[in-house]
């Protein structure tokens, strides 16, 4: 064997000289991976690794988590508060005191002039739960606007709505451990390996130990679809039809779990009457899945000892999003697949703390799944916060999507955007842009100054990001994870909690006639306050505290003070909801079986716009790319927007690999690069939504009637070839600095 050098030099391997690892939870998706960031002697964050003994990720991280330490030094961070009178003027640097006063006065001015609800607050799924809770207290208890919502309306509203309709409360009933027990898994519009890589790994680990069938419902041949035992390439927006047809077969062939249905559900007759209309032959004409496959999937699912469904945006982001979730729940309920190991309906959540905002932000109601519509809930919270009960509205206000329509209509004049970027993330960007230009007072609070929505702000408040702040987040399996403040925010940027508390002081002052609402400074204390509020409720967290959360690498709710008193250690995983009979959250403890008539209101391809536009996520990017677009080792895998286009269509249109093309919808256009692939059918293109001034210039985003979530995934476009490729390349480049 040839070894080369007889005299060997020392081997040099990069050594980042980490002297301390600090604990946090990953701030990207909702998986909730425990992460440790390594710091060198100079106190610089130089490395990230998965925490080996964390039940969720067991030492693993995806490529975004692996480079998460680079976030702290990424470009575009806001370093000082800024203000200006008009959005077309240049920014002026100001002190925090001036900025906070200006925001307080701005809100007051708008509210005094146009009424309390004319000022809207739009929050996020990106902050920490204590921050959500504090913001909720500030908004509901002191500012007093009912137009307060989060960007979770864009991703999880349909899941929330569907859970509420079926089970009487929000809250995903399953856990990751269910993969270890299931005998059949259906993934509805979920590209797990790309969207939630670590959950995918947990699934893969389970499947390698014990082979069970995987069924994937997705119009695109994703990696998960390709590796599925059965792939159902469904016609976009027709999931409800497929669900009804599956139930039709189950009832026809008497495969349902009659005992479970009888004991735990209401509404069977109405459901059976509706699904009777969806025989597989009729359904196959609508949803594009042949009758044979519908029957075999129904038998496989209903015949499995334990069967589970997971889903993501393929279901939620549709005009039938909430119905799709109910349909999945219906399937689970009629086969007795809720609350048992391997049998569940598990919404795979989007943002890192979408669950936290659902539980504690008071956006859609009051803390811990309390409802504004419920008199007792209003009374309890008003008493607890020490505010006037009548100050709270009796009905939830507008969703984020409707708030923008209200800005357009002139009903809402002021807006506070917190850690969200609607100019990129809402459908029909041009409409959003026009609306934002109309705002009389707009505050943007974000860790990034270069967030596109900041173009139309009058005040910019620089916030800390991720582990520059302390607090908790809840993951997909209802596990509460701790993030430590492991590094200071850059410049004068401050943790969101600090900003809310400073703002609260201004609204809480004696002049406002209240001055008695308590706002603790420390996240750990706020968490204990939340614990008190959670006692006896579904999401009971009264047994937890920050210290315990870090020690256990997260704890699934519920974990109660009674369990602590009884000496019961927190479960490491495996915690499910509705495991006992008739424990659903409706008054009688029974879940509802809800019939789902199908109304086809999608913008379907026609002669003028003959191509489906399907949008979705790439593993290397996070949402609007303000984070990952600046980290080379993430961004390089897809640095510019592109479409997947069927090679046969590309050939017909004369489009070659790597050509720029112009996509045109009834709203506007977008310039993207084409990559021909048979991942998509001939009448569809796939376009990642991450890029600013791109996908959402095209999307229509009809709203789901229940959840008000936009249907991002079903729009129609046409494709125009571009003769001047060079100009197109420069235009595409000009539209993004990252």
């Amino acid at each position: 064997m040839l070894f080369g050098r007889s005299k060997k030099n020392p081997i040099k391997i990069a050594d980042k000289k980490v002297i301390e690892w600090k604990y946090a939870t990953c701030g990207y998706c909702s998986t909730g991976c425990s992460i440790e960031v390594g710091f060198d002697e100079q106190g610089k964050a130089v490395s990230s690794r998965g925490v080996a003994d964390a039940d969720v990720n067991r030492g693993k991280l995806c490529l975004k988590g692996i480079f998460e330490h680079e976030l702290f030094t990424s470009s575009g961070r806001g370093l000082a508060p800024l203000q200006r009178d008009n959005w077309h003027q240049s920014w002026e640097k100001i002190s925090w005191d001036t900025a906070l006063d200006r925001v307080h006065d701005g809100i007051k001015t708008v509210q005094d002039k146009y009424g309390r609800d004319s000022f809207a607050v739009i929050s996020t799924g990106q902050m920490l739960t204590e921050e959500f809770y504090t913001l909720g207290k500030l908004t509901r208890g002191l500012i007093g606007t009912n137009n307060y919502d989060g960007n979770t309306t864009l991703c999880m509203a349909s899941a929330v709505s569907g859970y509420k309709r079926s089970f009487g409360s929000d809250g995903p009933p399953g856990c990751y451990e269910d993969f270890e027990y299931t005998d059949c898994l259906i993934a509805w519009g979920s590209n797990l390996p790309e969207q939630h890589p670590i959950i995918y790994w947990r699934f893969k680990e389970a499947q390698e130990k014990r082979k069970f069938p995987l069924i994937v419902v997705d119009p695109r041949v994703t990696m998960l679809a390709q590796n599925a035992d059965i792939h159902l390439p469904i016609t976009p927006g027709t999931d409800v039809v497929l669900q009804n047809a599956l139930m039709h077969v189950i009832f026809k062939e008497n495969l349902q779990d009659n005992d479970y249905i009888k004991a735990n559900t209401n509404g069977l007759d109405e459901l059976m009457a509706e699904v009777e209309k969806y025989d597989p032959i009729t359904a196959s004409k609508i949803c594009g899945i042949d009758e044979d496959t519908i029957r075999s999937v129904a038998r496989l699912y209903a015949g499995a000892g334990a069967a589970m469904s997971i889903w993501t945006m393929g279901i939620n982001q549709s005009t039938h999003g909430s119905d799709g979730v109910v349909g999945i729940n219906n399937l689970a309920l009629i086969t007795g697949n809720i609350g048992k190991p391997g049998g569940t309906s598990l919404s795979i959540t989007g943002q890192c703390n979408a669950m936290g905002t659902r539980e504690w932000s008071s956006c859609s109601g009051l803390p811990n799944h309390r409802l504004l519509e419920n008199e007792q809930d209003r009374k309890d919270i008003a008493e607890f916060w020490n505010i006037d009960e009548e100050f709270l509205p009796k009905k939830r206000g507008m969703f984020q999507t409707d708030i923008y329509h209200a800005i357009e209509a002139g009903h809402i004049k002021g807006l506070w955007l917190i850690a969200t970027n609607p100019l990129s993330s809402l459908p029909n960007s041009e409409r959003v842009r026009r609306a934002m230009q109309k705002l009389e007072f707009c505050v943007v609070q974000d860790c990034y100054e270069d967030s596109e929505s900041n173009q139309y702000a009058h005040v910019y408040l620089p916030a800390g990001t991720w582990a520059e702040k302390e607090g908790v987040m809840t993951n997909t399996e209802r596990r509460i994870n701790l993030i430590n403040a492991i590094i200071q925010p850059p410049g004068e940027a401050k943790p969101d909690l600090w900003i809310f508390n400073q703002m609260a002081k201004r609204f809480n002052s004696k002049d406002e006639g209240k001055g008695k609402v308590n706002f603790p400074d420390k996240a750990a204390d706020i968490f204990l306050e939340m614990g008190t509020l959670s006692k006896g409720r579904l999401a009971d967290i009264s047994g937890m505290n920050h210290e315990l959360l870090e020690k256990n690498r997260g704890i699934q709710w519920p974990y109660t003070e009674q369990q602590v008193a009884a000496g019961e250690a927190p479960p490491s995983g495996e915690k499910r909801l509705y495991t006992e009979p008739t424990t659903f959250r409706y008054a009688d403890g029974k879940a509802k079986l809800i019939p789902l008539p199908f109304i086809d209101n999608n913008e379907v391809p026609d002669e003028k716009f003959p191509i489906w536009l399907n949008t979705g996520r790439l593993i290397e990017h996070w949402h609007g790319r303000t984070k990952t677009g600046k980290i080379g080792n993430n961004n390089k895998y897809s640095p510019i927007p592109f479409i997947e286009i069927n090679p046969d269509l590309a050939f017909e249109l004369g489009i070659k690999r790597g050509d720029y093309v112009r996509l045109v919808s009834r709203r506007s256009d977008a310039v993207v690069m084409a990559t021909p692939t048979h991942r998509v059918p001939k009448n569809m293109v796939f376009l990642p939504f991450h890029f600013h001034d791109c996908a959402n210039r095209l999307t229509l985003g009809l709203l789901d009637p229940h959840s008000r979530q936009p249907a991002y995934k079903q729009s129609a476009i046409r494709i125009e070839c571009l003769d001047d490729q060079k100009a197109a390349a420069l235009l595409s480049k000009e539209m993004r600095n990252f």
């Binding site: 040839l2 005299k7 030492g59 390698e208 080379g632």
Partner: protein, 645 residues
């Protein structure tokens, strides 16, 4: 030592090989898995990682290790690449490991196959053999092939010869780096960072041929993977799902892989046709013919064009002048050395080759380390080329100097110098050709490389002499005829070589077919122009010979034609070569996108993962510092090791 945690998860811990059968001691190529026997002095030494002297206690330390890749499971999540770049602190444009993919089928029966690959730590590392500076070592420990960027002078030859694109030439730093097998982790019983990070349970690592639990295959055959006889790579694959008949690359490379229906012994494949997945042309961009002259003539390989053409010209002309000096009478060439063109000619030649050598040296990532080019005379054709050309250069200098003096002593000196130069010419010339006979670069790996190099010497060398002698007005018809015969012969040789090249490429089952496709489409008009110029030159040369026409203007026109055709031809030679690398992605590891990003300025953004090619200054201070800090003994030892290894 790598800081191992107390609670490392099982998947990150290396399997122990002891459980395997004892007779299982050779790998699939028949080589011993044990790198050195137990009594070998290479045993029980420290790897000196970052100068720490500890010796790892891994019981399998002296067994060849390798990656195991289960293509059935890879989801292209890039976690392996990210973990690798995080651990090795690599900027976005450098990656020791990359995931590429091939795809096939028709919706929805579509299939994408992802392939994650780093260095294969080959049994027969061509990088180690090729590197002129001896920056590579194959360690007895784990059989790891490691490269030391502090030795490297950034010529990039290892990146040419490696069939897997493992060594990475950094245009910013001007040096090569590569996968180090995470030997620091191996020393403490942990699998490499990439393997431990895998989210699809696709990547594994261990003693070679040790099939992980739950896996059934250990083949060396997967669509896009080059044939194994070049280097005997230490990687094993599982890929049990039937692929589509045709799997296409998604990057710009015009290649697809055609499934062969007969199962083959992939360990012993010698040709592409023997592979289970035969590379074929995939004309992605159609057959539109283009000029792209700017792209052709402004590539980073221009230094090679300048060097090879100038060196070959000078060598060709030198032969005439040497023969004229000493065999003038017998060969009726005495006009050459006795004419007024002789001395200016020699000086001009010296100037030309100096320029070529300068261009070549300044093309290095670290030009001040030029002297390391000789270090690997034992194995590297590059070292031998450099040695040969240097010898030729030295001989030519002496030859030229002594030509200024007219006495028998200097005449003798000049004769010896001429012989030295001739030896250098033959040796250097041969290895100048040999170094391009790279298995991983099918476009070059053809006799055409030799015919083209010889032809350039014959044609341009002869025309140089002809023009010079014409200018000086000393061109007897016998010399005229001889020169024109040489030019015509050279042109015929060039044309014949190109014809044979074309014939072999057109039907090639290799990346050569894609190179030919590029040559005839992207650079189609330049290709036609070159061919036309060659034929025109031949017609002119033969016409001049037959009509015994003799004029400076005719020579100038002919030289112009030949020089332009030589430059275009050589530019094509460097620009359209396509290595047998693993398939890339649509953006990352796609040469097409890299070029696009550089052309449009997208590469200005560091997070694009694309940087510009650049030239590096000659750091004289570093050279002086090295000379100062290296003791005479070390210098002598270093010199000895050129021969001892």
């Amino acid at each position: 030592m790598f800081a191992r945690r107390d609670n490392e998860p099982d998947y990150a811990i290396l399997r122990n090989r002891e459980a395997l059968a004892e007779n299982d001691t050779t790998n699939c190529y028949g080589t011993s898995i044990e790198t050195v026997q137990s009594d070998n002095p290479l045993r029980d030494q420290s790897l000196n990682i970052n100068e720490e002297g500890e010796v790892g206690d891994n019981p399998d330390r002296y067994k060849q290790h390798g990656f195991y890749f289960n293509a059935d499971n890879c989801i292209a999540c890039h976690a392996c690449e990210a973990a690798c770049s995080e651990k090795n602190d690599n900027p976005a444009h450098i990656a020791f490991r990359s995931v590429g993919f091939v795809e096939g089928g028709t919706y929805p029966a579509y299939q994408r196959l992802n392939i994650s690959m780093a260095c294969n730590h080959c049994d027969d590392p061509v990088c180690l053999k090729g590197c002129p500076t001896r920056a590579y070592t194959k360690f007895a420990e784990y059989g790891a092939v490691l490269q030391d960027p502090d030795i490297c002078f950034g010529c990039g030859y290892c990146t040419w010869v490696c069939p897997y694109n493992a060594p990475q030439l950094d245009p910013e730093k001007g040096q090569v780096t590569k996968c180090n097998m995470c030997v620091d982790r191996l020393e403490v019983g942990l699998k490499p960072a990439c393997t431990s990070a895998c989210l699809g349970n696709a990547l594994d690592f261990g003693v070679i041929e040790d099939i992980p639990e739950n896996r059934s295959q250990a083949k060396v055959d997967i669509p896009g993977f080059p044939r194994t006889d070049i280097t005997h790579p230490n990687i094993r694959f599982q890929q049990t799902r039937t692929t589509q008949r045709e799997m296409t690359r998604v990057d710009q490379t015009a290649i697809k892989y055609h499934r062969s229906d007969e199962p083959l012994d992939s360990c012993n494949s010698k040709t592409y046709e023997e592979s289970s997945f035969v590379p074929e042309l995939d004309p992605k961009q159609g057959f539109k013919r283009e000029w792209n002259l700017k792209k052709l003539l402004t590539s980073h390989e221009n230094a090679h064009i300048a060097f090879t053409i100038s060196a070959q010209l000078v060598m060709g002309a030198f032969i005439w002048l040497f023969l004229g000096s000493f065999f003038g009478d017998t060969l009726s060439l005495n006009y050459l050395s006795s004419s007024s063109a002789y001395l200016p000619g020699l000086v001009l030649l010296l100037g030309l080759i100096t320029t070529g050598l300068y261009k070549l040296n300044m093309h290095l990532g670290k030009p001040q380390r030029f002297y390391r080019g000789f270090y690997n005379l034992r194995h590297s054709p590059v070292s031998r080329e450099i040695a040969g050309v240097s010898l030729f250069f030295a001989g030519l200098v002496l030859f030229t100097l002594s030509a200024f003096f007219e006495n028998s002593f200097f005449s003798a000196i000049q004769f010896i110098a001429g012989l030295i130069a001739l030896v250098g010419l033959i040796f250097g010339g041969y290895f100048m050709y040999k170094l391009y006979r790279i298995e991983a670069r099918p476009f070059w790996n053809h006799i055409n490389t030799a015919t083209s190099f010889i032809a350039t010497g014959l044609v341009l060398g002869s025309l140089f002499v002809a023009v010079l002698n014409s200018v000086m007005g000393v061109m007897p018809s016998i010399l005229n005829n001889l020169l024109l015969i040489a030019v015509s012969t050279g042109l015929v040789l060039e044309i014949a070589g190109l014809w044979a090249h074309r014939q072999s490429l057109k039907s090639a089952k290799s990346e050569g077919a894609a190179s030919f496709y590029e040559q005839t489409t992207t650079y189609g008009y330049a290709y036609i122009l070159r061919n036309a110029l060659l034929i025109l030159s031949l017609i002119m040369s033969i016409s001049l010979l037959l009509t015994e026409h003799q004029s400076l203007s005719a020579y100038l026109v002919l030289s112009g034609l030949c020089l332009v055709s030589a430059i275009i031809g050589r530019a094509l030679f460097y620009v359209v070569v396509i290595p047998t690398t693993m398939p890339g992605g649509f953006f990352w590891r796609n040469k097409g996108f890299v070029e696009h990003a550089r052309e449009t300025g997208l590469a200005d953004m560091p997070q694009m993962g694309v940087v510009y090619e650049k030239h590096h200054a000659f750091k004289l201070d570093e050279l002086i510092e090295t000379i100062k800090t290296t003791s005479m003994n070390e210098k002598i030892d270093q010199f000895k090791r050129i021969f001892s290894g």
